[in-house]
């Protein structure tokens, strides 16, 4: 899992969050988080969710674009 399935951020932006083990202590899946776009995913999910090319394009995120900010803190200043 070298890049983010949603924004294609590079590996250095991807954080390993948690490893799920079975009752015998064997690895079942790993959860990752992208520090660029905040996408979280598990490597056992269907490709339509975690493969950049198979995901619907509509759901891609470009962290550089402006997204709506809920209750922007600046409005108080």
């Amino acid at each position: 899992m070298s890049t983010c399935p949603r924004c294609q951020a590079e590996e250095n932006k991807i954080r390993v969050e948690h490893k799920g083990l079975n009752a015998q202590g064997e690895l079942v899946w790993t959860i990752f988080n992208c520090e660029s776009c905040a996408f979280t995913w598990r490597d056992s999910e269907p490709a339509t969710t975690i493969d950049y090319d198979k995901r619907e394009e509509f759901f891609r995120v470009d962290p550089e674009k402006p997204y709506p900010v809920i209750m922007p803190p600046a409005q108080y200043k």
Binding site: R15, A38, R42, V69, I70
Partner: protein, 493 residues
């Protein structure tokens, strides 16, 4: 108003006294054939989603589903669909299976407005929720069997938490303490975002904390008393307590205790996550498949840091499937969305018979009213648009006569077919609207539609020469229908 409320039935009180927690309710549902265990191994995705959607198809009688064999989460339990059917809600209120939605509506109306809070406070060290307490090294991904609810959600959501916060400007005020359901996206092992807007009580608390530069502490209650979930989602006044409401509606005391960060919390919840607002921080959140059945987009929203976690032994993680309806969300909040609209209307217009705002949190509502004079229903519709919930949500309103059951869509369609003139529709352009309505003109703004499907009356001359067939109706026929249903079920009610 409490002395105006009729007493609850013996059965309702018996059930209320018995159910003090999620665990109690699951046991009760099991005894009544309304809770199943899914013990075959499931992967968090897509299996849990698939089972949730299939179980949710039957909005009248679908069961709660307990998952106890989730790959990667040995020993962990998760439950969905606790409020997934009207039968589950009927059982909670002390009714038998087969109770109609209309009967449930009138039951909730009869409980509405009771003002005697029934709350017992117990010491934190005696509260089951404090059986285990963590104060460092938080890992929500490990503690909770988290999963992606819909396939394009931005992450793993906690969709059914009851979040307690206090007004940071008036932290000792019990009434202004708010309990609400807000969507929570886990963003890191010990951090999450929580979506609220200025119109929510919680949104007010967030803005006040950031303006004053003071901490905002919250307690996130998971796996709660089933009445709490219903009333945390009910629009009540800013200075009214959801705890008080929930206990009054059940007619039996709820047990509260104090969280480590000073909130009142339910003593018997499965888990309570204490957290603090990261002042001024906004993080990417979403998309999330929301109750209109479409995704709400990516936004930057407030973020919280976990400060402590309390949980019962072997906690059960309660979550919800939400997306294109019908889903548990619709059943959970439908009647409690309808009741306050009715309660507001009836003050001025005693002719209002019933309000059905079950559809997508009231984006479409059907109001049954006895016309006082020609055009009266339209005036009532205007008043409904001005109720607190109506202001943002009631987008399409269908007005029907008092002889039409607004919960029976066959009857509503009959009224539309036989009593509607095209010129009896009103469009009010450019009104406020919830931002996540996909049909909004621009997010937060759109048009309202009123269809007056009530019958004509003087001075209107139309329809004066038609006479309605009056088939037998009333309690006697209702009783016969129940006998027929019983006979069909092999003698079982």
């Amino acid at each position: 108003m409490s002395n105006k409320n009729p007493p609850l039935s013996d059965k309702a009180l018996e059930v209320a006294r018995r159910i003090g927690s999620l665990r109690d309710f699951l046991e009760f549902l099991k005894e009544n054939g309304q809770c199943i265990n899914w013990s075959e191994e499931v992967y968090p995705e897509p299996d849990i989603r698939n089972v949730a959607v299939a179980a949710g198809r039957d909005s009248m009688n679908g069961p709660a589903v307990i998952f106890d064999n989730i790959a990667g989460y040995p020993g962990k339990k998760m439950v969905l669909g606790v409020h997934g059917s009207f039968t589950n809600i009927a059982l909670l209120l002390g009714h038998p299976k087969g109770t109609t939605i209309k009967e449930l509506f009138y039951d909730i109306i009869s409980r509405w407005g009771a003002d005697e809070p029934l709350l017992d406070f117990i010491e934190p060290d005696k509260a089951p929720v404090n059986e285990n307490r963590l104060t460092s090294n938080f890992n929500l991904y490990d503690l909770l069997p988290l999963y992606r609810i819909n396939e394009y959600d931005g992450g793993f959501y906690i969709g059914k938490a009851n979040v307690v916060s206090r007004d940071p400007r008036d932290p000792d005020n019990f009434g202004k303490q708010n309990v609400g359901i807000y969507r929570i996206q886990v963003q890191a092992p010990g951090e999450f975002t929580l979506l609220s807007v200025p119109a929510h009580d919680m949104g007010r608390h967030i803005m006040a904390a950031e303006q004053e530069g003071v901490p905002l502490k919250i307690s996130v209650m998971l796996g709660n008393h089933p009445a709490m979930c219903m009333f945390a989602a009910t629009p009540i006044g800013y200075d009214e307590s959801e705890f008080a409401y929930a206990s009054q509606m059940m007619g039996s005391p709820m047990r509260l205790t104090k969280s480590g960060n000073g909130m009142d919390i339910l003593a018997d919840s499965e888990m309570v996550i204490e957290a603090e607002l990261m002042n001024g921080v906004r993080s990417f959140e979403g998309p999330f498949g929301e109750f209109p059945g479409s995704y709400s987009g990516v936004r930057k929203i407030p973020r919280f840091k976990v400060t402590a976690i309390s949980h019962r032994n072997d906690p059960i993680f309660e979550n919800i499937y939400i997306g294109r309806g019908w889903t548990e969300h619709d059943t959970l909040i439908g009647l409690n969305t309808s009741a306050p609209i009715y309660a507001a209307l009836i003050k001025d217009f005693p002719e209002v018979v019933a309000v059905n705002a079950l559809y997508q949190h009231g984006l479409t509502g059907i109001i049954s009213v006895k016309n006082r004079f020609a055009g009266f229903a339209k005036s009532v519709a205007m008043r409904a648009l001005g109720t607190p919930h109506g202001t943002m949500y009631l987008k399409n309103l269908i007005m029907v006569d008092d002889d039409v059951d607004p919960f029976d869509l066959n009857e509503v369609m009959w009224a539309l077919s036989t009593r509607t003139r095209a010129e009896d529709t009103i469009v009010i352009p450019n009104m406020p609207m919830i931002p996540i309505d996909p049909a909004a003109e621009v997010a937060g703004k759109g048009h309202r539609l009123i269809i007056d499907a009530t019958s004509f009356m003087p001075p209107d001359k139309l329809g004066s020469d038609s006479k309605i067939v009056t088939p037998p109706a009333g309690p006697e026929i209702d009783a016969i229908a129940k006998v027929i249903q019983m006979l069909q079920n092999g003698g079982q009610s």
